[in-house]
Symmetry: D4
Subunit: 248 residues, 8 copies
């Protein structure tokens, strides 16, 4: 591409000023373009982290994104804010438990894929994070199967569903308190496991530190970890892997 621009300069078909802009934007677009292409081709929407932003800020950002015909995913958004945005943009969808507001320019194109991401969570208190992960993956065009409330203290609940979990492309495993679920899942499956610690618990849980350390120290191979309560991040990693598997 750089060569093209240079050739045009040589040929005189573009001015130096134009070339400078293009080369500057080349740099710039060098990364931004990849970004754009990836987003368009793979259906990954632009993501807005809603926490700490005002309704006005969110609306102005989402309108900028929509103008480029990109999908929009807003995470960590309260019901109250979502309602105000929906009044202006009723084309958006709000997932209350997941605290996600999103808009997709096109229909899901992944209907004919067999692969799916398994989203597991240990207890009902982890549901919020699990749904953030599940909805994120769905909005990004992946099939998702939910396996909720399969914590290790009642191991049979997990084992009963082992086969279906094993056949997933990748698992996102969400757990608070002692965070032991990813280790057990990691021993059952042969695909990558993304572990998401949650801040669910009290006392020596230290706001998720306990589950985080557990997951980082897992004796099972094939487990990697994202930040505490980061359901979005867990799903994002899984989506990248799921795409590789489909594209492969």
């Amino acid at each position: 591409m750089m060569e093209d621009i240079l050739r045009k300069v040589q040929e005189g078909s573009i001015s130096i000023e134009e070339a400078k802009n293009k080369l500057a934007s080349y740099e710039d677009l060098g990364f931004a373009k990849v970004d754009h292409h990836r987003k368009k081709r793979q259906g990954i929407p632009e993501v807005i982290y809603g926490e700490g932003k005002t309704v006005e800020q969110i609306i102005s950002i989402l309108e900028a994104i929509k103008a480029k015909e990109n999908d929009v995913l807003i995470t960590r958004i309260s019901e109250e804010k979502a309602k105000q945005i929906l009044e202006v943009h009723p084309e958006f969808t709000f997932e209350k438990l997941a605290q996600i507001l999103y808009w997709k320019s096109t229909k899901n194109t992944n209907e004919n894929s067999d692969g799916y991401i398994a989203i597991l969570c240990a207890g009902t208190s982890d549901l919020k994070v699990a749904e953030e992960a599940a909805v994120t993956a769905e909005v990004m065009g992946c099939n998702v199967r939910r396996f909720y409330d399969v914590g290790v203290a009642g191991i049979h609940r997990l084992l009963d569903q082992a086969k279906e979990i094993q056949q997933a492309t990748v698992s996102v495993v969400i757990a608070g308190m002692e965070g032991a679920l990813p280790s057990v899942v990691g021993g059952l499956v042969s695909h990558p496991v993304i572990a998401v610690p949650t801040s669910v618990g009290y006392g020596a849980n230290f706001k998720g530190l306990s589950a985080l350390l557990t997951m980082l120290n897992s004796c099972a191979s094939g487990i990697s970890v994202v930040n505490i309560d980061n359901g979005f991040g867990g799903a994002y990693n899984a989506v990248l892997i799921d795409r590789l598997a489909r594209k492969g």
Copy 2:
């Protein structure tokens, strides 16, 4: 008992001096006696923590204990020190892996008991702590069954032995790294579980902190925790419980 002494003073059958001693020693023996009685009756030996003590110190303490015809259990003792002591006291037994040196005045009296303590450990690196627990419980007169290398990353290894574990009186569950084993065991059994975190691991394990937090935050009920690498402490608690079950 105080009444007895006072009555004897009133009757003049003991002098004031004698009464003072008895009352003073009453206080004193109040706890020491219970201690002595408990140890004699239950076969709990006096315990010497070997780390940081010289061979001379250990020998002088163990001889004082033996003089009272009490059993002796020395923990955290290196092979080198043990050998030196065995030269003087060949009647002692040294368990190398457990780093325990002990002497029992009498034969085990628990042969005819059906109950047993289950000692589980997650990996082969936890063996040292597991053996400290197992030998401690055995020297204290309990039956022990070992379930080693049953970590959660290969959950079937544990499940295959679930029945035998379930029939124990109490379990001592030892695990390093992420320390998830007690949670799974706690969900399988209906007896008390004593969890022992080990310092096995590296990096974000922080010398056993990871496993310790995991166990304290377990979502399974019926689990209590002792200090990192404290195999002796785990066993001691189990022995107290096992005795209650037998005596009950």
Copy 3:
């Protein structure tokens, strides 16, 4: 049991489909059944952790449990929520200080037992956790004796009651601030001690970390520890031990 099923298949007395179900459910019920049996036989109610659940969620869970004629114990429930539930289910009992709401299908059957659990707490600020422990143990059918405000800074308050504490089957010792009480109790008694650190304190207490570390490092043997403020967990362990002693 597996053998039975297989024999019936061989004999043709059950179909393959039936056998499959039975074997599948065998696995499943393998743990679930034990659970049920244990709960029925021992009078351990199903437990609902109330924090973070809505009144509606709690009611739907408790009705499912009652349908199986199991007892129900709801912990960490605010007075406000409890009142709303009591309007629908006036057969429940609410213990305000303990923040426990419960229902028992049958009368206590432990009246004729002599054994009791000693619940000790260091200061009046630990009362909430202590009552959570005490009510839990009582609802689970154990005798409880309370020894409150016996902190180590006024050691005679504890020593005055040493005899009655020593005669318990097991002690649950609750303390905040420096958390030294379990060490002293552990030196006085010959039964197991379950230590419960509380978050009571300020500054370098770090929300209970100080008391937690103290208890894990206790120089007295026979002490095991549960999570900070986990009065329920402390009692649950004690109940399991108390049953062993009674059943023994």
Copy 4:
């Protein structure tokens, strides 16, 4: 499969005893088999963590694995131990910097694959961990390209190689000190990034804690993290993903 066994029992073609074994082993093999199959099919060798094991222990384990015709990968093994093993098993290969000793039953079968794993490290002090990752991935049959000494303090060193990194299937990014490299890489590529913090540094590095926290808090999406210094774990995750991409 269970149905097959049951049918054979019904038909009388296998005895109940045989069926019991098969069903028992079914359970057991349920996980072990998958494991075996995966390992055979994918060329993932059995892995032995060498640290803390004696030469004798390692030899007896590796011979058991070789007997099953599985490949063998031994990590964290010192040169001294490796030399002793090589005397007995000269068919093994030792990678000194990576501290890996391995044996492969067959030639690499991935020669005709275009995909590769990018292994990046920030500084020369991270080389040991980087090589553990690189050799692990290679022994597991993946193509690897190394991008070493591309730390963020000289960002052009990284940017110069951006294109080749972007075309990898997955990146393993290794960094100590402040651990900022994965964030920058995460912003440059559209494939998954596995971040490996190292304990390289001093002072407020706290043995890798600094880099670990940095990576968990990355503002770039598509990054997941493994334990400090866990080059093997980073590579293992990458291999699983790379296989998905190839198989897809």
Copy 5:
């Protein structure tokens, strides 16, 4: 100066009492004077930390300062408090985002200086701290150029402005989450970098600890760090350096 006073005593031109006061105040003014002179000469206003002070307290302090004809800078002041003060002192200026209220006795005297301080921040959530820094530096009479939202996950945004940043006298680099920006900037520039970690983030961010450790462990030279969220402190250091460069 001491000599002057002593000479006057010798000459009898001042009384001993006067000399005592002067010498006492000499000590006192020894530091206070420097302080005063520095403030007057350099235009550094007296600074009031607004948090935790009442409107009344702030007003009485600022009036004392104004009485000495010193400039006044009040940091960490809420809009509500600022409004109340502005009613009494409408000559003050309030910067809402920076939460700064200030008054300058004279016009900016730095218009004819070419040098400027570069204030960079990684994300929009760091704006509050960045503005505290920027406004502080401006009120203290320095030129400021803002480079906002140039976080490392989109490295081209930073590189596009590298030249302008490189030409600054000193950079104040503000970042939350993983806090990697100062390392990258430190590698691009040859002037001092003051790094300001912010508490922006969640989970394993631990209220800014993550960014703080990152910055302290930076592999780039020429970076020093101030307290979490301390935009004022970052700017203050930069102002001192900028003055040296101008004065030099």
Copy 6:
């Protein structure tokens, strides 16, 4: 004093130069003199922290001190170094367990004082720190009574000696592991208690952190704390208090 100097200047009895020196040295000697006087009058020797200093360095410092006829106390000095110094300075005394080497210019002058400092320690492993405290106090001229091995797990050992402890002027209470002893002592006595945590313990002891937090959070009043293993510091505080009591 300043007035004196000024008056002499006025009178011309000293030159300005002399006055300048005196006033300058006044400041300087202001603290240094007090220091000297205090040390001489109270028999507090100059203290050298031996750790990390060479034999040569220590000898040159101690000779400088001796030249001023001050007593010398060297703490944290190994037996090996002490022996080398004793060859040159045989007038010194070495206390092996306390790791203290000292020299006193005069005989103890505190023989006729009734008051004494109580030095308590919890276990035999705390002896080293306890002796550092005891010898420090003795060398500084105080009477000391030792109460060793009186840990709270055997509370009667402490209570038996309560009276003698209560009659001390001040207590220095040394404990490792859970560090509970100061709380119990604090409840028994009405004089100040200086608590010294030791690093004795393992696992969740975290090198004395556990005992340190315990002591800082003590529910007993009248307890203050010094650094981990700082037997010298504990004694130094006690000596200051003991002197006040004697001098009072």
Copy 7:
């Protein structure tokens, strides 16, 4: 005393029942009595920690104390609660800044003492803790001199008052943020220094941890530390020392 009782039993002048009570109460009163005596003789009031107690609870406790004619000191009590108590007990005095409510049965008896406690604090934000300390010491009958806002960043403010501070019996030094003041004071005075860290600060202050560690690691001798924000505890220690000095 025990001998007296026994003699009376021997003489028959008291019954066994009476003797039992006396001996029992001896134990009990052994500590309680000392307590009472100390409080009466020294004018130390009984102390109620107000935080977390209801107005009703506080009133019932204070009335029990007053019934014994003991003084009452209530700390950490809000203005709102204090007002409600003052309606019932107008004889009490409320110190708003110190958050202390107290009642003294008698006039201060320490008017004719020359000694005083120096209370220093570093900044105006530490005033609350400083006043808790100052009022506590005054209510307990000591003379107090306040040295406020003498933080080390303006060292002359402290040095100007050095002489008056040096002449105190004991200093209570209160500081937040970096907590450096006690080290400087410890180098200036020859009496004991009680250091009180406060939670004043932000960011890497970690709620007082910074100041706490500073004080524990002070390079000055003669400093001991109490819990974060524990102004009461700092004063209590100082009062015990001041009494010793006066009584001595």
Copy 8:
């Protein structure tokens, strides 16, 4: 510069291939060149971190640097390694206490500058870090004045030299234990202060954490902090500032 290249392409004076190289290298040299220029012009030598590098590695790196006629500074190098290098490169100079080995191509060119950097350290144990700072600054061509052993516990030692410190361009203040020195210095001077915490201390010092937190929380303005024991980093920042002052 980009414009130049483009113009030459337009003019045909360079080929497209040449332009591509130049533009590519532009990026690359963009940063590398600045680096080179800065180093040459300012006399900043290339720096090699010696720890963990072999003698062979160091020699090959230093020869590469010398080949470019750049100065060489090797930090954290043991005497043993230094001696081996000196045998090959006798033109180097080794500073033993600072653990620095260096070579300068030219004589110091800063002789005629009046400005100097003040290097202060609190105690003799901090000397190693202080010398690393001092020698670093000197090798980089700055004047240095050393103010050693001026810790805050003897504040007059510092105050006596206040004037000379105040006249420096910038101060590097090194302190371990409680790390209070920078706060006091920060209050005395009006130039920037670079604070370097050291790991000197024990117990609650936690390997320098205590001093680090102290410095980050300093109540004095104008202080910024580098990593624990990072004498080199402290000096490097000071050198950048000192150059600005000289160049200004």
